[in-house]
């Protein structure tokens, strides 16, 4: 469905754009048909940047994004519009995704004007009704309301309904539930999971490992723009190989197990080393070989990691 190959994004910073900041650095992964892949990373890992590049909202510096065989960067005005008929996105802050001075169901009108200009009114209303029911919303309580009169959960579902109107193939969900309350959060998650059964592929971007585990078939662990480990979610959670993933798994606050008193040395963050392994400065197993960039090594089917110490770990 969607193939990311060696994707990078370099920002110009410093005086006259002297220094370069590698927000995303040669990232590659795939999302198959009817598959949910979670892209997990802390803030500053570049996960949102990747999401925005896939949606064509920001330009990419190098590498390619291939959707069903066509390279997305070559798309211009009308081909890009055709691309948007298949690929849509939902963002983090529901209240910022709506223009506060218009009614919230204006997002549907936007779709109607651009993609279905000649559809007749009642057929469109019926389509909207079905989409709203599909996301578990009652049209009477939701339509014709201003964004501040609806809850965060309702607003996010409206956005998903908007995407369903185009019967898209691929959805980028960028931290869609981090702003929602615990109780409404799970319903939106279940909704996303249900959509998978309707033949939709989802890239679920999040920093919360529990959510990633709950919903995704495959996971990609991202740190400072580099993919450190990727593969089937169960394998990564139950038997992580990369030291960073291990640290994440122990640091996640669980409801059934207390934290192990592993002391993480939180030295001041060292700026990105572009060449070596990005986790070098905080990794307990770091040794001189880590100065060169480790390459992704297949540990078992559908599970690979990027660390020079992997061979020993697999043997040991």
């Amino acid at each position: 469905m969607l193939k990311i190959d060696n994707l990078s994004k370099i920002y110009r910073v410093g005086t006259f754009g002297g220094q370069e900041l590698h927000a995303v650095n040669q990232v590659s992964f795939e999302v198959g048909d009817c598959q949910v892949v979670s892209l997990i990373g802390e803030s500053g890992s570049g996960k949102s940047t990747i999401g925005k590049m896939i949606l064509g909202l920001i330009s990419k510096s190098s590498g390619s994004i291939i959707f069903n065989g066509t390279e997305t960067s070559s798309l211009k005005q009308d081909t890009l519009k055709e691309y948007y008929r298949n690929v849509q996105g939902v963002f983090q802050d529901p209240f910022s995704s709506y223009n506060p001075i218009f009614k919230s169901d204006r997002v549907f009108k936007l779709i109607k004007d651009e993609f279905f200009p000649s559809i007749d009114a009642c057929e469109w209303d019926e389509k909207v009704e079905n989409a709203l029911k599909a996301v578990g919303l009652n049209p009477e309580t939701v339509l014709n309301k201003f964004p501040h009169q609806l809850s965060g959960g309702q607003l996010q579902r409206l956005l998903i309904a908007r995407a369903l109107l185009l019967d898209i193939k691929f959805l980028v969900a960028d931290e869609v539930i981090s702003m929602l309350d615990a109780s409404t959060r799970i319903d939106v998650l279940n909704l996303l999971a249900d959509l998978k059964s309707r033949g939709l592929s989802i890239l679920f971007i999040t920093h919360d490992l529990c959510l990633g585990y709950y919903i995704s078939d495959q996971s990609v662990i991202l740190y400072k723009g580099h993919v450190l480990e990727k593969g089937v979610t169960e394998k990564i959670y139950n038997s992580p190989y990369h030291p960073y993933t291990k640290m994440l798994m122990t640091a996640v606050p669980r409801l059934d197990r207390k934290w192990e008193p592993v002391s993480i040395d939180i030295k001041a963050e060292v700026p990105n080393q572009i060449d070596g392994c990005v986790y070098y400065d905080r990794c307990p197993l770091a040794f001189d070989k880590c100065r060169q960039r480790p390459v992704l090594v297949e540990i078992s089917k559908d599970h690979s990691a990027a660390c020079w110490k992997l061979p020993e770990m697999i043997k040991g």
Binding site: K52, L55, G56, L57, Q77, L80, K81, Y84, Q88, G89, F91, Q92, D93, F95, S96, S97, Y98, N99, P100, I101, F102, V107, L110, I111, E114, F115, K145, F146, H148, Q149, S151, L159
Partner: protein, 293 residues
């Protein structure tokens, strides 16, 4: 921490809520009152006086009295008539000059704010350049060379040299709105950049644009008054600034004819002051932080 919970009862729509709060704001009412007073005076005035601004109506240098409300000039012209006939010129300059400055400011502000990158850099430098050059010095030089000057040309001059103030403000505002998600969502819906600017960003800033226009309107009047005062204003017709120029030129000061130069000054100060007070009132209505002292 109640953010969205305390929303309005559904009956009061968003529009009424704004009007409801707007008219409770005293500063807005006072500013609007002053402005309306002078607008009415502009239309009603000419009916109140049977003279023309340059008619010789009576003895020269007469202080205000019942038959000459604002007294007469040293040429025996009626000051009140000149004042009333000067008002349209002042409003005209405000509307055209202020309007032109706002429109120019909007276009450049939107393009720079929305497009970003190199275009933003270039437009920003252009704005700063024109901002640093003292506008009046430029106007002085221009007016000196353009011999025949009407109010329209003066308004154009003012419009073309004061737009950077509007451009800076609108660019900053567009910048903040551009990063909002609903703009990205509009892009995802296949909307073209131009459409996005005018259907998503501009409506959101409608209040801000109106307030910018008010400031430009006031600024244009002040600049025009200064130009007229220096004798570089319109060569025919009358305006409040021109009245002051004549007053100073024909030594109204040493002769103690205060009624010749006080009314025009009060007129300009009141109109521009009213505009500024209205602007602050609107500012309080739109961001409550300023209201809850």
């Amino acid at each position: 921490m109640i953010k969205a919970a305390a929303s309005l009862p559904t009956s009061v729509k968003k529009k009424n809520e704004f009007l409801y709060f707007a008219f409770k704001n005293t500063k807005l009412r006072v500013g609007l009152g002053i402005l309306l007073f002078f607008l009415v005076l502009m239309f009603v005035g000419p009916q109140l006086t049977e003279y023309e601004p340059t008619d010789f109506v009576g003895p020269s240098g007469v202080p205000p009295s019942t038959d000459y409300w604002f007294g007469t000039t040293s040429f025996g012209e009626d000051v009140f008539t000149q004042f009333v006939y000067g008002l349209p010129a002042t409003f005209m300059v405000g509307i055209i000059g202020g309007g032109l400055a706002t429109i120019l400011g909007m276009t450049i502000g939107f393009i720079a704010g929305y497009r970003g990158g190199v275009v933003d850099e270039v437009l920003n430098i252009l704005t700063n350049v024109i901002l640093t050059i003292p506008a009046l010095a430029l106007l002085l030089v221009l007016s000196a060379y353009v011999k025949v000057r009407g109010i329209f040309i003066e308004s154009l001059f003012i419009g073309f040299t004061t737009w950077p103030w509007a451009a800076r403000a609108i660019r900053a505002q567009t910048f903040t709105l551009r990063t909002r998600d609903f703009v990205d969502l509009a892009k995802l819906s296949g909307r073209s950049s131009l459409k996005i600017v005018f259907t998503e960003i501009a409506p959101n800033m409608a209040s801000y644009l109106f307030m910018t226009f008010i400031l430009m309107f006031g600024g244009a009047i002040l600049t025009a008054a200064t130009l007229d005062f220096l004798g570089l204003g319109p060569t025919q017709g009358t305006s409040l600034g021109l009245m002051m120029n004549m007053a100073v030129l024909w030594s109204a000061l040493p002769l103690g004819m205060w009624w010749w130069f006080v009314p025009p000054g009060i007129g300009i100060t009141a109109i521009v002051g009213g505009l500024y007070i209205m602007n602050v009132g609107l500012d309080e209505v739109f961001n409550p932080k300023l209201r809850e002292m």
